[in-house]
């Protein structure tokens, strides 16, 4: 299980690193004005945590072959995320992994699937 707590300014750094400057991620006032509780995490940053959980477990960035994520919930800064990965099946050197991301006791990514090469495949 991967645990990570995005700090207060993480969304600003990720905006710069990724080029996604949507104000719902970096401007508290703007986020509230469109009905959000405040700034929310980038979905693609949360997806990157799913990716990191797989490559760290495999010990090889090349092992991650596919990642498919459906965004439903919202993540917020300054609260711990846990990424839980469960191998559903393993066939021909490729593991299919179900991933769930939770924060504050809620699943913020419920449907994510990875294909990861195993055994140096």
């Amino acid at each position: 299980m991967l645990k990570v707590t995005p700090d207060r300014y993480l969304t600003v750094r990720y905006a710069g690193a990724s080029g996604d400057f949507n104000p719902i991620h970096i401007d508290e006032e703007f986020a509230r004005s469109v009905g959000l509780p405040g700034r929310i995490l980038h979905g693609l940053w949360m997806m990157a945590q799913c990716a990191r959980a797989q490559t760290e477990a495999a010990g090889d960035p090349a092992a991650l072959r596919r990642l498919d994520v459906t965004f439903r919930g919202m993540g917020v800064p300054e609260a711990e995320l846990t990424v839980t990965s469960t191998v559903r099946e393993e066939r021909d050197g490729v593991a299919t992994v179900d991933i769930v991301v939770e924060q504050n006791g809620r699943a913020i990514i419920r449907k994510a699937e990875a294909e990861v090469a195993v055994g140096g495949g």
């Binding site: 993480l10 990724s18 997806m47 490559t55 960035p61 596919r66 459906t70």
Partner: protein
């Protein structure tokens, strides 16, 4: 809300992105990576790579310059004030390293409507400087009902 499906199949001009070492490091740090292959040139070279390796999710960075014009295309007609990122898929063929030049082409592959919400799916295909495919992305966007 009636969605306009006329633009389905529209392909957008390829855009080439030059992968820079410090951009790779900046991205790796922003997503919490500590893997030396992403951060340390010597470690990457010792493992047989020409330069630092981009984390797989760096696909977001090299594909976005091709996707962004597609998403704002008036023929596609996405209402940005109601836009949500519904889902994302990447299929990776090989790792990208600093120094690579990645060319991405975007296509609008699907438009549909359910319960008043519009669903717009784009596909991006990214190839390296030799023309070999490095990544295919599917970007699912939802435009909420008015």
């Amino acid at each position: 809300m009636a969605v306009n499906t006329d633009a389905v199949g529209k392909q957008f001009p390829p855009v080439t992105y030059a992968v820079g070492r410090e951009k790779v490091r900046e991205f790796a740090r922003a997503v919490g990576e500590t893997e030396p292959l992403y951060l340390d040139v010597e470690a990457a070279r010792a493992a047989g790579y020409r330069d630092v390796v981009a984390p797989p999710m760096f696909a977001v960075v090299y594909a976005m310059p091709a996707l962004a014009p597609a998403m704002v295309d008036p023929e596609v007609g996405i209402d940005f004030s109601r836009l949500l990122h519904g889902g994302q898929e990447f299929v990776w063929r090989r790792l990208v390293v600093a120094g690579d030049e990645i060319t991405t082409t975007a296509e609008l592959v699907e438009v549909s409507e359910r319960a008043g919400n519009g669903f717009y799916t784009f596909e991006t295909r990214s190839v390296d400087q030799e023309g070999a495919e490095v990544c295919v992305g599917r970007w699912m966007n939802v435009v909420r009902a008015a």
